[in-house]
């Protein structure tokens, strides 16, 4: 290849596309949070969980010395992680629609950098939305062990596990779904529904057996229970299935999801990238125009 230049083959360090991707992610994230829509979205989305915490701060869990809002905070953090990741799926489909992905394909090492950039945005976005809820939430919800190093280590650990388990899934969904509006609509209500069923707001034992089995196969349940195990005193585990946090099992389930996503991800992304072309983007643009 490139016989015409007669130069020796170029040895490119894999760090180059990685660095380009990180830069891309940072610029995209900065552009997003400083845009008017970005600010509005962040305000609205994070006021809702904070309002939930404020409304529940004076009631306590039955038979326990734990406030309801302290018991909700970990679930809201888990939900925040899942929502941010779903947002990543949304970016991917909408950037496929608007031609961002095709632009990446036209650059040397562009696709690698694009995916790294997408993951970078997701991580930054998740961390930002986690902090926006967590920092005020700690002071709203009584009884959060703010001074404990274990709490912070646990939050960091589950944040990483949650990202590993869910981020590849979000990108997978984004690469499979055709229209960003599908994720915006179905994805949003689906995730809210799943959150209700996954014991984020009340114990799952109140639900039918098959629903319990289903939600325990998915990462959100385990992310939420893991977060609760970090925030709540040991006796609160009595409310969980089997009266225990089941920490080892939770970690295994989350790691299995991470493995599935990381194994399938590259295959599906390559398939998706292969299909990108100017006329594919043009066709999607025509479709999107008709809808509006």
């Amino acid at each position: 290849m490139s016989a015409r230049t007669g130069e020796p083959p170029l040895r490119m360090s894999p760090a180059v596309p990685l660095r380009l991707g990180l830069t891309r992610g940072w610029i995209a994230f900065r552009g997003m949070i400083t845009s008017r829509e970005g600010i509005m979205q962040n305000l609205i989305w994070n006021l809702v969980p904070l309002a939930v915490l404020i409304l529940n701060r004076n009631s306590a869990l039955p038979g326990l010395d734990v406030s309801v809002s302290a018991s909700l905070l970990p679930g809201l953090l888990a939900l925040g992680i899942v929502f941010s990741v779903m947002g990543t799926g949304y970016y991917l489909t909408s950037e496929r629609e608007d031609g961002t992905l095709l632009r990446a394909k036209a650059l040397p090492h562009g696709m690698t950098a694009y995916v790294v950039g997408l993951a970078t945005v997701a991580v930054l976005d998740t961390v930002a939305s986690l902090l926006v809820v967590l920092l005020p939430g700690m002071f709203i919800a009584p009884g959060v062990p703010v001074g404990s190093a274990l709490l912070w280590l646990g939050v960091l650990g589950y944040l990483l596990l949650g990202l590993l388990a869910c981020l590849p899934l979000g990108i997978l969904v984004g690469s499979l779904v055709q229209s960003p509006r599908t994720i915006g609509g179905l994805g949003f209500f689906g995730t809210m529904g799943l959150a209700v069923l996954s014991g984020l707001f009340f114990p799952v034992q109140a639900l039918w057996g098959w629903v319990q089995v289903l939600v325990q196969a998915l990462p959100l349940y385990w992310l939420a229970i893991g977060m609760r195990s970090v925030f709540l005193p040991a006796e609160a585990a009595a409310l969980e299935v089997g009266g225990s946090w089941r920490t080892p099992l939770g970690i295994v389930v989350l790691l299995v999801w991470a493995a599935v996503g990381l194994a399938l991800g590259p295959v599906l992304l390559r398939r998706m990238a292969r299909r990108e072309s100017g006329s594919a983007v043009e066709a999607r643009r025509q479709q999107a125009m008709q809808r509006t």
Partner: protein, 324 residues
């Protein structure tokens, strides 16, 4: 591959005349027997052509003729059904990142990178080419120079989403050339340009071709644009190349004749000829009344194009009727 004896191609205006250009070492693009099939429909039915280094080639043709498909195959964005395609010495379907670094693609943007600032986009896209810079081949483009070239120096700090349509298209061009590619693809580059933007864009293309020696392949609907920009024009119709040559060569070959109009003794005359100069010389030296209102009108590319597409449609109809 389509045989040379193919009726549409040999009749009237002969085989693609400039295929006299051989597949020499200078060929930046060489295509042999390129076919593309979507389900039962043959979009490309055996294309053969080459593009030389430094050449500006325009692909013309009615909608659905296969222009975009062809360009997407050459860009490596689409796999052909059959045929041999070589672009900068490699098959676009399997060529690697280093090849990609030599190719510039001007894409039609829509609302991508809306939150990015103009300068950020160009700096970021340019940085992908930095590892491919060589002594004597600085890459990417100097940002200030590039911004001035596409007249976006005043918008460098603006968000892309706030640009006007014309400014956005100029940004598209800037993104396409930021890596100083050897070969540049432009698919309908001036669609939606106002006349001033169009003229500026034409100057830019001339500059890239003349100063930087960039090989350029563009598709367009605008015949005047093709005539102005391209060294050579390929006309695609019904998935085949139906004409190949410079605008003048095509005009000569197809519409063939130059029209001479004049008046004599109050009467008006029209005559079509291949040799307008000779005809006019004879006309003026003929004895008799004075010749007035002399007008020599060469066939325009538009005449040529219309004629070629008309012939192609007739040929297709005939073929369809024979098949029945």
């Amino acid at each position: 591959m389509t045989a040379v004896g193919d009726p549409e191609r040999t009749s009237a205006f002969g085989p693609p005349s400039t295929s006299a250009i051989t597949h020499g070492d200078d060929a930046v693009i060489s295509v042999t027997g390129l076919r593309m099939r979507y389900g039962p429909k043959d979009v490309l039915q055996g294309l053969d052509f080459t593009v030389q280094a430094g050449e500006v080639l325009a692909l013309l043709g009615p909608n659905g003729a296969g222009k975009s498909t062809t360009i997407e195959i050459l860009e490596g964005f689409r796999l052909p059904s059959a045929g041999i395609v070589q672009v900068l010495g490699a098959d676009p379907a399997t060529a690697g990142e280093r090849w990609r670094a030599e190719i510039g693609v001007v894409l039609q943007s829509w609302r991508d990178h809306a939150n990015w600032r103009v300068r950020e986009v160009l700096a970021h896209f340019g940085s992908f080419y930095l590892p491919y810079a060589r002594p004597g081949r600085p890459r990417p483009f100097d940002l200030d120079e590039l911004l001035a070239l596409v007249r976006l120096d005043g918008q460098a700090g603006q968000r892309v989403g706030s640009l006007s349509g014309g400014q956005r298209r100029r940004l598209d061009v800037a993104i396409g050339i930021v890596g100083r590619p050897q070969l540049l693809f432009l698919d309908e580059p001036t669609a939606g340009f106002d006349p001033q933007a169009r003229r500026e864009f034409h100057e830019l293309v001339h500059r890239l071709a003349d100063v930087d020696g960039t090989t350029i392949l563009l598709t367009t609907h605008d015949l005047a644009e093709a005539e102005k920009l391209a060294d050579r024009i390929l006309i695609l119709a019904g998935g085949r190349i139906v004409a190949d040559g410079s605008a003048e060569a095509l005009a000569r070959e197809v519409a063939g004749r130059t029209e001479v109009r004049w008046s004599r003794g109050g009467e008006r005359f029209v005559h079509a000829t291949d040799d307008a100069t000779g005809f006019v010389r004879r006309l003026l030296t003929e004895p008799g009344e004075e010749v007035g209102d002399l007008e020599v009108r060469r066939a325009t590319l538009e005449d040529t194009y219309m004629e070629i597409v008309r012939r192609q449609e007739i040929a297709q109809q005939t073929a369809a009727e024979e098949a029945r």
